[in-house]
Amino acid sequence: MSIIVDHVNYIYGADTPLAVAALKDVCLQFPDGQFVGIIGHTGSGKSTLVQHLNGLLKATSGHIYFDGEDIYDKDYDMKKLRSRVGLVFQYPEHQLFEVDVFSDVCFGPKNLGLDKREAELRAYDALRRVGLPDELFYQSPFDLSGGQKRRAAIAGVLAMKPDVLILDEPTAGLDPKGRDEILHQIKQLQTQTGMTILLVSHSMEDVAEYVDRIIVMNKGSVLYDDEPRKVFRHYKELEEVGLAAPQVTYVLHKLKEKGMNVDVSATTIEEAADTVLQALGRR
């Protein structure tokens, strides 16, 4: 189920005075089961990139291969691609429309042509996975709170049982608690199902703790593509493109400058605490 992005270029508003190159010669590979963070400043092309992966935007030039097949082939089944590469948009709660949460989540599976029973089973499973309490299933989606709406919307995509799940800024506009809960559930989902997950975000802090790999986008090109700890080594360059490494990176670098023997590649608070304690113990 791997996705290969091969020299993809995309220009917004081609042949108008406002033409903008949103993606410039992007080459990437997403193997099975990886949890990938795509980070970039506003306008770096990260949202544009993920919309290519399920065929919503067509590259101006270049190719995308899903499972070894070119998705721009004439007889390629886009609908099938969209069921296998699930995309949760930014502020997905704006897409809710049904009379109750449960039927809204059924919309996706029903579009796949599944029978009612199977669609409902999947919807139920998806709603459980995003942690929405049972008593909300038959409420109008417009009566839910912001965080609950978002969960319902994510369930709507999850119910299609995609092999790859892309989430575009799933935590935008949520409070810190809601953010941690959603990210935690996404991680759990990944470990339980082995799904490939692409998490788009502009916050390193958000993704550092969860992902296996970070892709940093800047002005439409890929700037870094590596393990989190290796990407964070470039914390000074990251600042230049309007991003920042997690706070622990800064703290550890400062400690190292002061002569403390800490491992600066720690990415989470727990790891940082360990290395600081170790350094102190040695003294």
């Binding site: 406002l18 609908k79 969209r82 948009f89 997905p92 897409q95 919309f107 417009f142």
Partner: protein, 270 residues
């Protein structure tokens, strides 16, 4: 997906036409359109086309943007031409089956087609070179005398500018929701008309919800800035006539004079 709609879309560039006062452009366009319906001789159209050509050149807007506006009226154009061609009585030109084309019909059909084309292109020059805000500003100021008849000119102008401002926002929103539903396997294109109408529900419901939200937010934002209608309201950039606007008016008058006399002149010359 929906980005290609040019209805009343502004083309940003730098030109004399762009800088003109919107009142000049509104008045000029109106006079231009009226003049098109007064000609009784082809010479008038030659003058009109020449005048329009010069204005287009001065506006620095690529010609294909003007033609884009034509797409909307292709159907109307074909209908008008067909009816005029076949249903005008007069001297017979060709005749087949039950249909006859007359010389008069042919002349009338060509005149109508030319008239409509110039009309549409002429008004797209105005909308392409004037921002919607400027346009409503100009309209508000021009229609101010109507206040005497208790017509709420300011309110109507405000509604218009808000509506115009919301067109691109709602288009973008539609695009976003459409993509989100496509990502959930929605199908907007296949099936018969009933199926397609039903497929619009997942698009329309969220769109209406968000439009009402936006309207509510905007009303709140306006009220919290003490908006209470046009009474005593001043403008940040009031419209003031410049020298070039006077010149432009002069050009329009010259055009009118020329186009009206053109027919007579050609007549005399022959």
């Amino acid at each position: 997906m929906l980005r290609d709609i040019t209805l009343g879309q502004y083309y940003q560039t730098e030109s004399v036409i762009h800088r003109l006062d919107p009142r000049v452009k509104l008045g000029g366009t109106l006079l231009f359109i009226i003049s098109l319906f007064l000609f009784d001789h082809f010479a008038g159209y030659v003058v009109a086309v020449a005048f329009l050509g010069i204005v287009i050149r001065l506006s620095h807007v690529p010609f294909r943007f003007m033609v884009k506006g034509m797409k909307a009226i292709v159907f109307l154009l074909i209908l008008t031409v067909t009816f005029n061609l076949f249903l005008t009585p007069g001297r017979e030109l060709v005749s087949f089956w039950k249909l006859t084309i007359t010389w008069e019909g042919l002349a009338l059909a060509i005149t109508m087609a030319v008239r409509l084309t110039i009309l549409i292109i002429g008004s797209s020059v105005m909308t392409l070179t004037t921002t919607p805000n400027n346009l409503t500003d100009g309209m508000e100021k021009m229609l101010k005398p109507l206040k005497l008849f208790r017509i709420p000119v300011h309110e109507v102008a405000m509604m218009m500018s808000i509506a115009l401002r919301f067109i691109p926002i709602l288009l973008e929103e539609t695009d976003k929701i459409m993509k989100a539903q496509l990502a959930r396997g929605a199908d907007f294109e296949s099936g018969n008309i009933f199926k397609r109408a039903k497929a619009m529900v997942p698009l329309l419901v969220p769109l209406f919800v968000s439009a009402f939200h936006r309207a509510n937010d905007l009303a709140l934002a306006m009220e919290s800035r003490c908006y209470r209608g046009g009474e005593g309201r001043t403008k940040m950039k009031p419209l003031v006539y410049q020298k070039r606007d006077g010149l432009a008016y002069l050009c329009i008058v010259l055009y009118l004079a020329l186009s009206i006399t053109a027919g007579r002149l050609v007549w005399m010359w022959i």
